[in-house]
Symmetry: C2
Subunit: 219 residues, 2 copies
């Protein structure tokens, strides 16, 4: 995919601005499990997802994790370029959940064009607003939803992403998505299994009663 | 305070743009307890705080609350104008915690100027990024901090805001800030009192051992 296709406002940039962005962009491949961005330590740049799947998450001082949002083909990650947004002062990690190809636009290049282009600045605004919405949704989930419903919601979302009711994942990985200890995940999955919602085997969670699991998730 | 003083980029707007914004702006007074913005139901506009103190919070379907951030003199609230940001799809409530005077810039006016002004769009970006940082901080608090430390942090923050160690507040109000039931707040405050950190009386929480409370908050 061309860089231009990621930006609905591409036609509103000057020829010069388009050349600046396209000329500075470069491709990178990350194998599954690869780290694209480590917290607040570096200024990776704006990341455009060509293929694969990325996971943005935040970590506790003692290494616990919670997923903030996922990025798929055609998505754009601004927080890995938070160095270019003066107001943002928190750190996000970004890893590849599948083999992924991304295009990177260096933060200083993007920032320079955004500074002089109202269309690009307004578009960037909207992308930030979308991620902001994702994290507000997360707050509401954490605060108001019980753990069984959050786990059910996570499982059906995963099934939708994978296009399969057989999920290859570990209890620990699920815990890292939801910000919960492995033991808590195992206990609730065991309960789900006893209720006939899922079937568990090593490294796999199989959804067997999708309808009831979705009802629980939507409660 | 003039509208211009709220915008560090005011000098980078055209004369026309400045007149448009200043001409559309109007003042409003809200008594303590007054509601400035009700969730997603209306497009209040951009709110500039002239004096007083505002509280932004989100609510659960059954009416529970959690404070997202506070706004003080010279602060600006964009989320009450979320209707003008296409990407934002969540609802924030805004109430006056003290008698407050605000200036409102209608959302459509602000949006029109922002659309053509790169400086204003970039400045708006930074304001959103700051609020985004506030809510990310909140996620980290909720996820990784135990309730005693969150309560201690809330009490010392309140004392800083009020400039007094005697806080006029109820256990229910504290619960609404922290997203916790009143009973949980009462129990922990009772524990704090038994440890000699605070003294409780009707409608008042008095901080008596500020040093230890701050240590607990920073743990």
């Amino acid at each position: 995919m061309e860089v231009s296709e990621f930006f609905p406002v591409w036609n509103k940039l000057t020829e010069n601005q388009r050349a600046t962005i396209a000329g500075a962009a470069f491709e990178r491949d990350f194998p599954k499990g690869g780290i694209l961005h480590k917290g607040g330590t570096e200024c990776t740049g704006l990341i455009l997802v060509q293929s694969g799947q990325l996971r943005a998450y935040t970590t506790s001082p003692d290494g616990k994790e919670i997923t903030l949002y996922r990025l798929f083909e055609r998505d754009m990650c601004l927080l890995s370029a938070s160095c270019m947004m003066n107001g943002i002062q928190f750190s996000v990690w970004l890893t590849a959940e599948k083999d992924s190809k991304v295009t990177v636009i260096p933060a200083d290049v993007y920032k320079a064009v955004m500074k002089e282009s109202a269309p690009l600045a307004n578009f960037t605004n909207e992308v930030i607003a979308e991620r902001f919405t994702d994290t507000m949704w997360l707050i509401e989930q954490i605060m108001w939803k019980s753990f069984d419903r959050r786990l059910a919601a996570f499982l059906v979302e995963e099934a939708d992403i994978e296009g399969s009711n057989t999920l290859k994942t570990t209890h620990e990985a699920i815990g890292n998505h939801l910000g919960s200890p492995r033991e808590v995940v195992s206990r609730m999955l065991g309960y789900f299994a006893s209720e006939g919602l899922v079937k568990l085997s090593r490294g796999t969670v199989e959804i067997v009663d999708e309808k009831r699991l979705r009802e629980l998730a939507d409660e």
